[in-house]
């Protein structure tokens, strides 16, 4: 969907008298609530959250556990539907879509990056990256060569084109996360949704991964929503959102943005950035048993 379409959809929504969506807005969330029923107890995870994310923003979401940020992220990621409220993604109301429609949205409009990488084991980096292309609803089905070309392209962006035939257990944690980022990018999503992407990584690797997110954001104009509980990670974004008790408590622009590329220069030179050395035991433990 290009910009003209977006504007048209937004205009149509406005004409309906529903919501007004400023043009250039990728995510538009209105009075989102989510209530879970746990036994007899009602858990109100979200109690009316509203947020607009413009294209090209880098939003870092934080909040203590139980603040509703995970629920918020699940709804933003179309993994869950809100109890009430509306969610427009690229001007399209996705809050009332069916499960299968949501799967399609996740496939084409959202790129997920998880804390635990979630790569398929015993599957090459290239095959892992290609995975979302297999689920594109049979519409514009791609030839194998075309899929390979796309996968190589995105692996190039994350700087892993030389490791595309490696298996996850031959890659370091940072490299695995970069494969995961490449996988998230392959369908040209509207947003990149990262859930604690540095949670399993050491400081240096965390900054390296943040560097990639920043590059994608600055050089490729990709909208990023990143959930973290580390303040110094959150300061890499352009906007800071803090959840508390199911509501947005703080929503402000970051004035003194940290730049990962600058930080990397200050750190001692990397000692683990050679793939010829097999991964350490610690790194192997970090791998996820996503598939056996």
């Amino acid at each position: 969907m290009d910009r003209a379409d977006l504007a048209a959809v937004a205009a149509a929504a406005e004409a309906d008298g529903n919501v007004s969506i400023p043009s250039g807005t990728v995510i538009s969330v209105r009075d989102l609530t989510k209530t879970y029923q746990v036994g007899d107890i009602e858990v109100r995870a979200l109690r009316g959250a509203s947020l607009d994310v413009k294209k090209g923003e880098f939003v870092c979401v934080t909040g203590p556990s139980g603040s509703g940020k995970s629920t918020f992220m699940h709804i933003i990621g179309c993994l869950d539907r809100p109890t009430s409220g509306q969610y427009f993604l690229d001007g399209k109301d996705v809050s009332r879509m069916s499960k299968d429609e949501l799967a399609g949205i996740r496939n084409t409009k959202i790129g997920f990056v998880f804390q635990g990488f979630n790569l398929l084991s015993r599957t090459t980096a290239l095959d892992n990256v290609e995975l979302p292309l297999l689920y594109n609803g049979g519409k514009d089905r791609m030839k194998t060569s075309e899929r390979h070309r796309r996968a190589k392209e995105v692996l190039e962006i994350v700087g892993l084109s030389k490791r595309m035939d490696h298996y996850p257990n031959q890659l370091s944690g940072g490299q695995q996360q970069r494969v995961a980022i490449a996988r998230a990018l392959i369908n040209n999503p509207s947003i990149l949704l990262a859930d604690e992407p540095t949670g399993n990584l050491d400081t240096r690797t965390s900054i390296e991964v943040m560097d990639i997110f920043q590059k994608l954001n600055l050089e490729h104009g990709i909208t990023v929503v990143l959930i973290t509980h580390e303040m110094d990670i959150a300061e890499h974004g352009t906007r800071f959102v803090k959840f508390r008790d199911g509501k947005i408590q703080i929503d402000e622009q970051i004035t003194k943005r940290r730049m990962a590329s600058e930080e990397l220069k200050l750190l001692p030179p990397p000692d683990d950035d050679n793939s010829h050395v097999p991964p350490s035991v610690a790194e192997q433990k970090q791998q996820q048993p996503a598939a056996h």
Binding site: L79, A103, T123, L134, N136, G137, A290
Partner: protein, 405 residues
């Protein structure tokens, strides 16, 4: 997602865990292999019976004297005295009858030199070797003159000849004693093996039936008549004509029971074929149970696999797999396991059947039906036992699945 893509994903997933895939397949392999082998052995047994019947002469009709009752006491079959040599002669006139051999049997101790042997003395006619297509190994069968003259000549079955005179010895011209009477051996029959009824056809001595009734037994009646029809397709008509003829000759009133039995060999054989069929079904059912167990094995492994791969399923859903895609992937995995297992099982079935045939001398006959059945059953097992785990995978909540440790 296209079926081809699903297939590729399933194959990749199976390839990722070869050991488990192979072990799961093993259940299918053994199941299908067992079904094919068992059915092959059963079919082989049936074919053998049918072949024996054929070698015995498919157009053979046996007429036996019926039971004999005297004052309410019923003797066994063959004891009736109403069947006489003239009945056999009359049968020759019936259209469609080719050969007729009257028969009178007894059991006796046969003595030659210092050897003796208790055997069946079959009094018969010159037509018998023609009816049974049974050549002589040494000498020749007796002649019509021997029959009409009630000569004391004997043609030995190979077992009797071997027992009395030793293997590979031509005993023609020797004298044997049956019931203290000297008989001249004029021939030995070629070995014929077991009959369709399981009797050793070579453990016998042939003499003219006239000799049995006049010299050995001192009776007027005969015990049976062996008839052959000119063609096998008219055998039932000929059998019926013989029945009608005998009823007329024996003056049996309508409504009264026959005092004889007319049986075709096919009739006797069909009983045995039925038995073999039952055996085949039984064996196949037992083998089918192992196929079922193989199927349950697939379900078991698939369930474990779904639990183990919960995160993978969650990830696939997060990147756009619909419930349908996940269902199809696991279903196809199960079907692929059972189909490949089924194919290997067919190979195993062939191998086992051949081995049993070769080393245990059991006839085995692999039928296309059995292969189709086993293979179809394997596919069905895959679908049936793969569906539940696949549905379980498809109904997972992506959020929960991604959180699964």
């Amino acid at each position: 997602m296209s079926i081809l893509m699903t297939l590729r994903i399933a194959l990749k997933a199976l390839n990722r865990n070869k050991m488990r895939t192979v072990l799961t397949m093993l259940g299918m392999i053994i199941g299908v292999g067992a079904v094919i082998t068992m059915v092959a052995l059963g079919t082989g047994a049936r074919t053998t019976i049918e072949e024996r019947v054929k070698s015995a002469g498919t157009n053979m009709i046996n007429v036996n004297a019926g039971n004999f009752s005297s004052g309410g006491v019923r003797m066994g079959q063959g004891n009736s005295t109403t069947l006489i040599p003239e009945d056999a002669t009359a049968m020759r006139a019936i259209p469609g009858v080719q050969y007729v051999a009257a028969g009178a049997n007894t059991r006796a101790q046969v003595i030659a030199g210092n050897q003796n042997w208790s055997t069946n003395i079959q009094g018969t006619d010159v037509d018998l070797p023609l009816i049974r297509s049974w050549p002589a190994k040494y000498g020749s069968f007796f002649s019509a003159q021997d029959v009409s003259g009630a000569q004391k000549v004997a043609v030995l079955g190979s077992v009797v000849s071997n027992t009395l005179f030793g293997e590979d010895v031509d005993p023609t011209g020797q004298i044997i004693r049956i019931k203290s009477q000297p008989f001249k051996v004029i021939g030995v029959m070629a070995s014929k093996g077991q009959s369709a009824m399981g009797q050793d056809q070579d453990d016998t001595v042939f003499v003219p039936y006239t000799t049995v009734i006049k010299k050995l037994q001192g009776q007027q009646h005969i015990n049976n008549v062996t008839v052959s029809a000119a063609q096998s397709d008219i055998i039932n008509d000929v059998a019926e004509a013989i029945r009608v003829e005998l009823r007329t000759r024996h003056k049996i009133q309508p409504g009264d029971a026959d005092d004889f039995m007319v049986r075709t060999l096919e009739e006797m054989a069909s009983v045995q074929t039925e038995t073999a069929k039952t055996m085949t079904t039984l064996l196949a059912s037992i083998a089918g149970v192992s196929l079922l167990v193989g199927g349950i094995g697939i379900m078991n492994i698939m369930l474990v696999s779904v639990t183990e791969r919960t995160r993978e399923i969650g990830l696939r859903m997060a990147i756009g797999a619909r419930g349908k895609d996940v269902l199809l992937q696991f279903l196809v995995e199960a079907i692929v396991i059972s189909l490949i297992g089924g194919m290997i099982g067919i190979g195993l079935g062939f191998g086992l059947s051949a081995a049993v045939q070769r080393f245990m001398q059991w006839p085995a006959d692999i039928s296309g039906d059995a292969i189709a059945l086993a293979f179809g059953f394997a596919a069905l097992t895959g679908i049936f036992f793969g569906f539940y785990p696949a549905r379980k995978a498809a109904s997972l909540d992506p959020i929960e699945a991604l959180r699964f440790e």
